[in-house]
Every structure is written in C-alpha cells, then in structure tokens.
Subunit: 353 residues, 2 copies
Amino acid sequence: MGKNQPQNKKREALNIPAGRRVTSYDVARLAGVSQSAVSRCFKPGGSASAKTREKVLAAAKELGWQPNALARGLITQRSNIVAVLISGNVNLYYPEVLFALTHRLSEEKLRVMLFTVDSEDDVDPVLDQISQFQVDAVISASHMRREHAERFEETNTPLVFFNRYFEDRSSDVILCDPEPQTRQLVKRLSDQGHSRFAVVSGPATNMVSRTRLRGVRAAVEAEGGTIITEAPGDFTYESGAAALHRLMECTERPTAIVCANDMMAMGLIDEARTVFRLRVPEDLSVTGFDGIATARLASYDLTTIRQPIGRMCDAAVAVLREQLDRPERTYEKRVFEGLLIDGATIGPVPDVY
Amino acid sequence: MGKNQPQNKKREALNIPAGRRVTSYDVARLAGVSQSAVSRCFKPGGSASAKTREKVLAAAKELGWQPNALARGLITQRSNIVAVLISGNVNLYYPEVLFALTHRLSEEKLRVMLFTVDSEDDVDPVLDQISQFQVDAVISASHMRREHAERFEETNTPLVFFNRYFEDRSSDVILCDPEPQTRQLVKRLSDQGHSRFAVVSGPATNMVSRTRLRGVRAAVEAEGGTIITEAPGDFTYESGAAALHRLMECTERPTAIVCANDMMAMGLIDEARTVFRLRVPEDLSVTGFDGIATARLASYDLTTIRQPIGRMCDAAVAVLREQLDRPERTYEKRVFEGLLIDGATIGPVPDVY
DNA sequence: TTGTACGCGTTATCAA
DNA sequence: TTGATAACGCGTACAA
C-alpha cells in the first residue's frame, strides 16, 4: 500500500497533475459543459436541463468531486459552520447538550465547530477563532461576559444563549426555568414532613444557580419551611461531597438538601452514604437539578428536575435558523419548564428529629 | 439596542459600506500600507519593519479585523480544521475523549469540526461533509468501514484511528491494549479464589471488545480458571443489566464477571444490587474496562482498567501534526498500556461456593 | 522591506 | 438553460 498519489484513470485522462485538487472546471471538462453549469447542478434550485445535470453528476462522481465549502463560503458569505461554546468540565450535563445540539444542527446542514470554555479567560481567543472562521452563528452554553456578547453584535453574528443570558441586554435565549417544578418538589418534601432545608448552590456568579436558588427559597417560604443554611458549591461532584461536611456541622441539621445540580447531589449522596453512614432517603432527603443520564442510574435514582434538553436544542436550532434566514428578526426568549423526576432520594422526615 | 449595523466611526471614515466585511485592504488603507504588508504582519515569520507592523496591528485592532480563515484556507490549501468522528451514544467514554482531543487540538491551533456517528450508515454523508470542508485531517473514534477509510487515502487526508483499526490495512493508529493489566487483574481475582468467570462482551464486530475478550480468555486460561459463559452486550448500561439475568440462569454460577467496558459493569452492578440483592464485591466480583470518570464515583468505585486518555489524545494530535508537516511519513501505530484501577468491586470468592 | 499582480475554487450576474 | 466574467478575501512570487 503506502501513501501514493491517487491513481485515478480519469484524472490522468484529464491531465490533472497529481497533488492538484479536482475542481469544478475538471468536472465541467469531463462533462463537456461550462464550469458554471457544474456549479448550478450542485445548487438547490439551480437551473439545468435534465441531460446536463445527469452528465455533470456522473462526471462529478467519476472524479470524486464535491464543491469546496471554503470557496463557496467565501462568495456566499455563508460558512454553514456554527460555533458551539460549551464548558469542558466534568459536569455531565454538557456532553448531553453538545450531542443533542450536534444532532439537530446536522439535520439543518450546519456543521459544528466545537470550542470548550472553562473560564472567562478562555473566551477571548475563542472569539478570535470564531470571527476568523466566519461562523454563521454561535450557540453559547458557557461563560461569557457582556462585552464578549457585544463583539458578536458588531459582526452581526447571531448568538443564541443556552441557559444563560444577561438581564440588561437583549438576545436570543433558550432557557429552562424549573420554578413550577421546584414548588412541586418542595411541596412534596414539605408534605413528607420536612421543614428544615439546606441548599447547596453553584458559583455565586452563575445565573443558572441563582435562578434555581431563588426558586427554592420562594418555594420553601411558601411552604412555611426554613432554609437553615446555604453551602456554596461549584457544580462538581466533589463540591457536593464537600458541602455535606459543612452542613453536618450545623447545630440544627437539615432533613432535606436541595442541590443546584445533579453532579453535586450525587457527590453529596455518596459522601452521606460512605462517610457519614447516612441512608438516603431514610435519614436524609436529597434532590438535584438537570436530570442528567448518570443521575438516573440505579445507584442514584436521584429525585430531580429534568431539563427537556431535546426540546431545548430543537428550539435553539430553530431560533438560529430563523436568525439566519431573516436577519431583521427581533430577539426571542424561549422558556421551557422542567419535569419533576420521581427518584428514590426523598422520603418522609426521619422520626428521630 | 436592537440589531443595527455596527456604528464604527473608522468604518465611515474609510467609506466601508455597512454590511460589507472589513478586509485586509481596509486595514491597509487605514495603516497606509499595501494589502500584502498587512498579510505579512499576520503571518508568523513574515517580514515587516517594526514600524509597519505597529501601524498595521493598530489599524487591524481599530477595525476589529481578523484574517478570514476561509480565504486563507483557499489559498494555503490548509483549513486548520480537523474532523473528529465520535459515537454520540450513551457510553460516557466518548465525551471524555472528545473534550481531551479538543483541548489538545486547540493547543495546536487546530479547530474541531464535530461529527457524531452512531451507525455505519451515518458515515457516508459525514465523509461528504468532511471532503467539502477540506479538513486537514480526521480523527476517528467511531465506526468506519474499510472503504470509508480508503476515501481519505484518495484525497490524501491524514486519518488517525483512535482505538480501532483494520488488521489488513495500514494506517495511523492510537491504541490502548490493556493486555498486561488484564492479566494482572485476572491474577488478582484468581488469587482471591475465583475460578469461575463470566464475561460480558461488546458487539461481536467491535474490535475493542474482541481484543479485550481475547485478553481475558488468555488470562483466565493462564490462571487455570474457566470462563463459564459469555453474555453479549452492546457497551450500554442497560445491556450490562440485561446480561446479568442471562448469567444468573447458568446452573453453575460465575463468581467473577469481567465486563468489556465500564458502562456495562455499572449496569450489571446496579442490577445485581437492586434486583438480585447481591452485594458487590462480597457476593459477586465485577470489573470493567475504560476507567471513565463515572465509574470512579463512590457509588461504584469500580475495579477497572483505565485507558490513559490524556496521553492517547496527545499522541493522536502528535501523529496528526507529523502527518501534516511531513506528508511523506509512513504510518505509525502507538500502543498504550492500561492502568489497573484498584476499586472496590472485587473481593474474595464467597464461602458459600 | 515593500508593493504589484496573480491565483485559490466557488457562486452570482448578465447577456446570449 | 447556458457560458463568459466578475467578485469573495487572502497568501505569495516577483520585482523594486
């Protein structure tokens, strides 16, 4: 075998030097038509007689030619590339979103250029890349400051936020607001006798975390319960485990712990079981947010509020498509409710209390 | 706010119509130099006097200009895009590889175009996209038939296989062969009194699964044990759970079950604990392959063999870089050993047997 | 070091 | 429907 130049007979017949790429001109020569005819045959709705089209398609297949997307993008001002910004960290929520988005985008003939953003410092170089590659649009499910978002405004690049946005800046947003389900969840806990709650939050600056917390506080108050303490976490499994230690030091212990995402809930549960020898839910009720696949595994069977990721990704792509097709559109915010997942991590308040 | 054209004063001063993109010509005009001077200032090693460079960079910054990667790719025949083909299914091994690869590639100034491939039928359209976008190279961690791989040969697109390859076709390959650790693992089980093994395999056509199985069979034989039965799985959590049911029907039950990946091991363990009320490892020893993050969570603490994903991704990118810089290189296969992870899912063979 | 001129491979325009 | 020709925005010989 080895790495030789392709030995295509047709190439030789057309005198295409090895190493040079096959172009639409070559296809045109082989088909006996003009180059522009070839181009039209590959354009949806391009006018060409059945006979021409047949010849061209045959020739293209023969030579293994496909239109060069770079050249096409240069002239059409459309790269058909969408940048997806996502956190590369260990929260298993992100891969689920990423794969769902990729799937939906490919149905729209859009390609995903992937960027992982783990801190706000990562954003600037990523924005440079995005602008260099002339991406048609950006979906951001990661950190971003206002001034970053404004750079897209300047280049008229549609930007769709996924589960985050700026209160004081309009933009396209896909959101899950699980407030109704949060009330439902807290009510369920309250009905089971819980009144002393604790909360494990995400980063203080994180909007998702803040929204969830606000919902939990309101729901607990509505039920007449008390949030004894709020322990800070950072959405990681480890921070959930660490938070439990702080909660266990409270003189008056909580009987139900609401975590701002599933990863922390899982960490907290594992710590409760292995280190503190607490049974969940017999001794302690724990809940999460997100509804990631891992939290559904039988070892956790977490009671949580699922984000409808599939629908949200559908929406993100639909909004994006709309922005691409009608650039004068106004902004839109689509808010989805969550879905309460009935797991096995909450139960009646223990007698001992 | 709203979606107005950018109101850049400099744009107006240069008479750049709204809607037209800023080009290197605009930068050149503003800097008072030629377009090629601008180009050179953005080329590493391009010759330009300090003064020129200063003016150009200032002008570029003023206009928010960045070189157009599409146009650059067209002329240089280098898109700086790498296609990553990965399975979009629920095996949590893939996101880990994907994020690690993305990280490494970005250090090489290469962008990731992501393609999810869940069955061999998905491959053809993906290959079309890949060839259209003139990607510089392809990393494949998903299904692919030989004829697919050959298409890359034809276009001289470097292809690096990640944990799979064709026996009868040379190519660049990054591989984890955990054979030594498999022996180690089986020996450890054997030392703890196990002699009746069961295996839960992956898809019969899957190379990774076949290799792992071969290793397990050899190791068990070497230790004088017996593989009582092999249950087929498909690398998913659910198939691991299902496999246990088949294994429990054996008249002579296995005491140690080796699963071909972590996801199945986790499914099997959960099923054992919740449905069959078996304790792991007291009643049953279970092991996996991969060493994914989820398997390390305290609820599982799986005994498994980790793939050195970080090193493997480093290697994949290094091999790819080599292919890009020296196209006449020959193929290379880099094989990494695994790392035995001492979890808590294996133990002495139970007395009752 | 600098500028001129050309070409990368396509789509868009327009006259035929 | 078809073909000639002009962009798209850049990198790069080559001459100055």
